[in-house]
């Protein structure tokens, strides 16, 4: 038997189980649970079989499997590639083990809960994405998995979608994940130019090859390393992204445990281990990674100490440990970090699961061992320092505030300055200019090359501005939706000015955009006709209560438009980046920003219209403060 099939099965099997679950009727709790645990258990068995085989016949040598080529042209290929080495096997093992336990656990724990099926479907989707990401053999594959992890996380944080806080926090978490995604996109883009090929992680283990490249382009190499670090830090809630992890604790406790206690949160560490051969030779990168870890360890520790709620405390304690893992990795002890990771994952999962017990346990402790408190505070550095530090730590060092104020608000601000672009005139402004853009392209050979260089940047900026406008839109969801589609069209136009971009590639990119754009537009228009008084984004409307299926269809379109790996746009996006030149850093920045902001704008449309407190129920509605 070819060992490759076995490796594919680690991804296919969970996916199959996920699909099967979708077809089980909502009421059939036991079947839903059975599919879930059978899927994971089967995977566990084949994993063990694989390890035995791998160890006996191949002596645990790293394996690279070029699985599927999704797109190929003479100068570009999009390959789904899997890679298996010691780190991935460890990661697969703990993931499968913990998912299995959590699935069994939730079978009882979630009994009779509204959304039982949704929960299991998302957990299975998560597990599939987890394996997919873990096995990823190149950046493209990793990115696909990375995005799927993000969306499953969003869906679990917003599990209690009829309340305000879970939905708000889910959007927050998603936004920060999105920043991490950009790290990967840019790393992908830069490494494309850096290696002149779609580099696989397997190839990175070829030290001589890597050293040679890095010595030639040390600047670019550092850029890539920083992008990877951003992605890793965002996913692992490292400084300055730490605040999302506590906010993510809105779902049922087992899902919090598996996501933010153990598996999802450690993916940053995994990414660093995976790309280690690349950055370990760069001193600057190692110092940066260590520094991020160090700051996080301090910030996380201080924050954890003062939190009066159990889940926040565990979350920050875990984040601080991950900070230490970053340091360990930066120092080159990646095996050690891996062990630390496994221990931390188990510990925090268990701590979160038993967190409701903390009341009876600690009250009992207090009952028998209470000591009148002496205020033996160490005023070595003065009251001022202590009180300030206390308040700072209590407020999580304002990280949440800083994120919104300095990263997202500027975009919103610019967007709202663009409010002259309205529903009515958007076509008047942009359709003629767009056509003009295309006309120009046909005569591009006549243009001076100076102008030529300039045009993509301008068009890219227009795309970004349109998307920022969509991001700031509150009143007309349809408007925001169309602006984002237009944004995509401008991106296409911007890139086509770069040579060698074929119509075939354009079709790959735009077919997904137009298809999901049209589908989503239909959903929105339908909803507007039915619910016009409650069709805006000033508040959460919670329409999924009455339109559960429409909500799913719209989410799918939303993801399609976002470039999620369900349509060709996902590959198209990669193609587009592939055509951005190495010297077009500005254009790359525009595109990346459009990508972040567009994604957040889209998920907001979904969240505001379909999630949150139902605007039509005026009785029996949860308070906003829940």
């Amino acid at each position: 038997m070819d060992i490759n099939y076995l490796i594919i099965s680690f991804v296919l099997l969970p996916f199959l189980a996920f699909l099967l679950t979708l077809f089980v009727p909502e009421k059939e709790e036991s079947w839903i649970a059975r599919f879930a645990s059978a899927g994971v258990a089967l995977n566990f068995v084949s994993l063990v079989a694989f390890i035995t085989f791998w160890g006996l016949s191949l002596n645990f040598l790293p394996l690279n499997i070029k699985e599927i080529t999704l797109y190929e042209s003479e100068h570009y290929a999009f390959v789904i590639d899997f890679y298996m080495d010691f780190a991935s096997i460890v990661y697969l093992l703990i993931g499968t083990f913990l998912t299995f336990l959590i699935v069994r656990y939730s079978n009882y724990y979630m009994h009779l809960e509204v959304g039982y099926k949704r929960f299991f479907a998302v957990i299975q989707f998560f597990y599939f994405s987890y394996n997919f990401t873990t096995l990823a053999g190149n950046f493209e594959t990793l990115f696909a998995g990375w995005e799927m992890l993000g969306i499953s996380s969003f869906l679990l944080v917003a599990f209690y979608r009829e309340r305000y806080l879970p939905v708000r926090n889910a959007v927050k978490v998603f936004s920060i994940y999105r920043i991490g995604d950009v790290g990967i996109i840019l790393a992908m883009w830069a490494s494309h130019h850096f290696w002149h090929e779609n580099i696989t992680f397997f190839k990175l283990t070829d030290t001589a090859f890597v050293t040679e490249h890095i010595s030639q382009h040390s600047g670019e190499a550092l850029f890539i390393a920083v992008c990877i670090l951003v992605a890793a830090a965002a996913k692992s809630a490292q400084f300055p992204f730490s605040s999302w992890v506590a906010r993510a604790m809105e779902g049922p406790t087992p899902s919090s445990a598996i996501f933010y206690g153990s598996l999802s949160i450690h993916f940053g560490v995994y990414l660093l281990i995976r790309t280690m051969p690349f950055w370990e030779q760069q001193m600057a990168a190692r110092v940066l990674i260590g520094l991020v870890g160090f700051i996080t360890a301090i910030v996380g520790y201080q924050t954890a100490r003062v939190q009066p709620t159990i889940k926040t405390q565990i979350a920050y304690a875990s984040v601080a440990q991950i900070g230490i893992m970053f340091i360990e990795i930066a120092l080159g002890y990646e095996k050690f970090a891996l062990m630390h990771l496994v221990g931390n994952a188990f510990l925090r999962t268990y701590q979160l699961l038993v967190s409701p017990s903390v009341v009876s346990y600690l009250i009992r402790e207090q009952f028998y061992h209470f000591k009148e408190r002496e205020d033996h505070q160490n005023f070595f550095l003065g009251k001022r320092f202590h009180y300030a530090l206390y308040l700072l730590a209590l407020r999580e060092f304002h990280l949440d505030f800083l994120m919104t104020t300095y990263i997202f608000r500027p975009f919103k601000h610019i967007g709202s300055k663009l409010n002259f672009i309205t529903y009515k005139n958007v076509f008047a402004y942009f359709v003629p200019t767009y056509v003009l853009g295309w006309v120009l392209w046909f005569y591009k050979d006549d243009l001076a090359s100076k102008v030529w260089d300039f045009i993509p940047i301008v068009f890219g900026l227009i795309a970004l501005l349109l998307i920022m406008r969509a991001f700031a839109e509150r009143h007309y969801p349809v408007h925001a939706w169309i602006l984002i589609i237009l944004g995509h069209l401008w991106i296409a136009l911007a890139v086509i000015y770069n040579e060698k971009f074929s119509f075939k590639e354009l079709t790959w990119y735009l077919s997904g955009v137009l298809l999901s754009g049209f589908g989503g537009w239909l959903c929105l228009v339908y909803l507007r006709r039915r619910e016009s008084p409650n069709f805006n984004m000033y508040r959460y409307q919670g329409h999924s209560k009455e339109y559960p299926y429409l909500a799913w269809v719209f989410l799918a379109c939303n993801l399609g438009l976002m470039g999620f790996p369900i349509t060709t746009t996902f590959i198209g996006e990669d193609l587009i980046f592939g055509h951005v030149h190495q010297n077009q850093l500005i254009l790359a920045f525009w595109l990346a920003s459009s990508f972040v902001i567009g994604g957040i704008a889209l998920i907001r449309i979904y969240a505001r219209l379909f999630l949150g407190i139902h605007s039509k129920t005026n009785q029996e509605a949860p308070l906003q403060s829940f």
Binding site: M110, N344, R364
Partner: protein
Amino acid sequence: MQHQDITPEFSEDVTLKKLHHFLPNQNPLKDFIYQNSLQAFQDLPFHKGLERASSLFGYKTYMHLEEYRELYDKGYIKPEILRRAIKQVINPPDLDRWEMNLLHQKYIAVFQPRLGQLHQLWAQRYHHNVAKQVHGFLFRLLSSFIDQGVALRKFPLTDHNFLDAIRELERHAGWFGIFKSKRAKAFLQDKNCQIVDLLNILVGKETYFEQYLFDVAFAHPGWSGMVAVLERNPNQLFDKRQISLRDMLMLELLMEINALDKKFGEGKWQPLSSVIRNGEVKPFFSPTGHQHLFDAYAVWQEAYEWAYYDQVMCGLVLESPQENKPSPSRDYDFQGIFCIDERECSLRRYVEEYCNAQTFGAAGFFNVAFYFQPKDGKFLAKSCPPPVTPQHIVSETYAPEHRHKRDAHFSKESKNLISGWAISQVIGWISAFRLAKNIFKPSETPALMSSFKHMDKQSHIQYENIEQEPRQDGLRLGFTVPEMADRIETLLRCIGLTRNFAPIVYVIGHGASNVNNPHYTAYGCGACSGQTGSVNARVAAAMANKPEVRSILAQRGILIPDSTQFVGALHDTTRDEIDFYDEKELNEKHLTAHQTHKKDFKKALARNAKERSRRFLLVDSTRPAKAIHEEVKLRSVSLFEPRSEWDHASNAMCIVGRRESIKHLFLDRRSFLHSYDYSQDPKGTYLLAILRAVVPVCGGINLQYYFSANDQYRFGAGTKLPHNIIGLVGVANGIDGDLRTGLPQQALDIHDPVRLLLVVEHLPEVVSEFLLQDMPIRDLFAREWIHFIVLDPRSRRVYRYGADYEWHEYLPLAQELPQTDDFEKLLETSADNFPVYWINPKKNP
């Protein structure tokens, strides 16, 4: 409290008092006390109170109309019951039209609660969500200050009162302080600053002040309620704090000013009153009118309740215990005094079936009220019904070492930096093992709250008074002999056990065992303030065994033969296990008998577990009792089980009377049962004492369930699955949410929200007479927060206590009850509530 008053002039004290009155009155988690969630509306008749509460605060107080209609369509609510309810509630001339309306009309209802009208204008007119800016941080400050031991580093100034602590913190923290607004900072430091000063800035117009404070406080009823409770009773916390509603509101208003200043610039915004349009905001307490929908609700609710009660009434009428003949003086092997708790209802049935025994029900503190002080305990645990204030302490003088194991997973070290580093590498692997083990083979962990550990079997307890002088706090250590005799006499007279003593009398308290349950105290004995009833049972038994006590009792006419011995015991309602105390005190003959009884108890408990298991959907209840019992036991130690047991979820009624009067009725664990023999208490003196304990305890449990089940968002705590523990005092969703009060969804799944049907067996005229001695209880009955019924033991007729404070005979519509031959089979057929069955108790199979 007046509901209609409109105060034009604002008075801080008056408004704070009103807030205290209306805010949820829920204790910190360690002392969960059941009570009516709408206690503030108890001065109105039930249906009126519910409508008023709903129009003021937006509560949902009934089930959905569709749910009632569905029950009608299913045949649960019968047409004649519905018609009777219409007549009783509305008494309209055109009954048929009313019936049609109830069944089919689409009621147009306007829900515009008074609450929130003012505060929402910030978002509407200023486009600024002030609450969103303020709540998260306010909750965090409150929880840090109150925190009882979650945080590793405590709030620095807990010896101050809350506002002073904040003041001090802010003064020193400088740039990192709470406020950015200069005037907010200045107001905070100004000790003369009053709530009015802040309201002047925020609201502007005095007429709106009170209403604004209601909007502010009720935007997070959980925290406001907690602060109010701690203000009234700081002793609720082991680690005491000084905090008041006024402190909290001051801070919150300052934070609001700060948020608005930050957004619009200091002093650059107008108070809220400037944007209020004429007549837009209705005064909070002005009359709310009456909506037809609420008539429909009232009728449906009555019909829904009487659909079940009617069967009970029918059963009571059909029962015919032999009158005038003294109860057959059978020679019982033993007698058992159980708690009134409805969870004991089925166990008593099985004990009577398996053993030659007589059972009684009494409030589970067995009429000995005290504070229990466990060995090495630093505090006292109240062991009597919540309204009673004990004068005595019972202390544990010896307890085996290490009864509570420690667990590194809860340790502070695991959350530190360096020790956490080491712990995660070592303990982490143990966690994985522990987790796997608990999922596949659940067993006891240090996190378990076991009822048997409340007081160890080997423990020694000091219940006799040895010091003459009371302690500093006015409490006495132990009871004197006359005090003991008084208590035992009342206990025995209340339940009517004054003669025919069996050789052994078991006094059986109860408790629950569970893990991963922040609401664990809600599962204990309601008559012991949520504690386990073991100490009370043991103390009561010991007192009754004392020769000095017996001789006093003999003088008062209660002759306990020397051959009779009392034994204290504890029944764990989750695990269905029983354990006995001081067994070595039994004489040889009794000890042998006792060993046999233990075996019988075991059988009865297994059957009881099987009967309970039909309600646990994931358990196959057709299997043999023994196997099911093992499975049921595991629920108490399984981390993943949010429903270790159903607690009081099936409660619906309370019967105070002789066992013979309900002998043939299968009440499906839905009734609190208190034994009482009217013939021994012709004036009803003891009955009144019983009601004084039963009404607050059972009534509180019942109404808390009623409201939690009807509005999971405002009264109930919602699903417990995402709950996060806040400072050991409460639960919230996620990290930024308000505290959730009431019962979680997982306690309510099988609950039918019906009011308590309280039946007492006595002569109506006697009951009317003694009710005059307790007006609050009498009013509660007349206002129908509890349905009060008298069963006349002579005529076997039943009477309802009406709003006119008179008795009205109730004629059951049902003429007979369904019967079953194979009772055990019947139990396996359904997981839902059963109707009342007529059963023939088996004797000693």
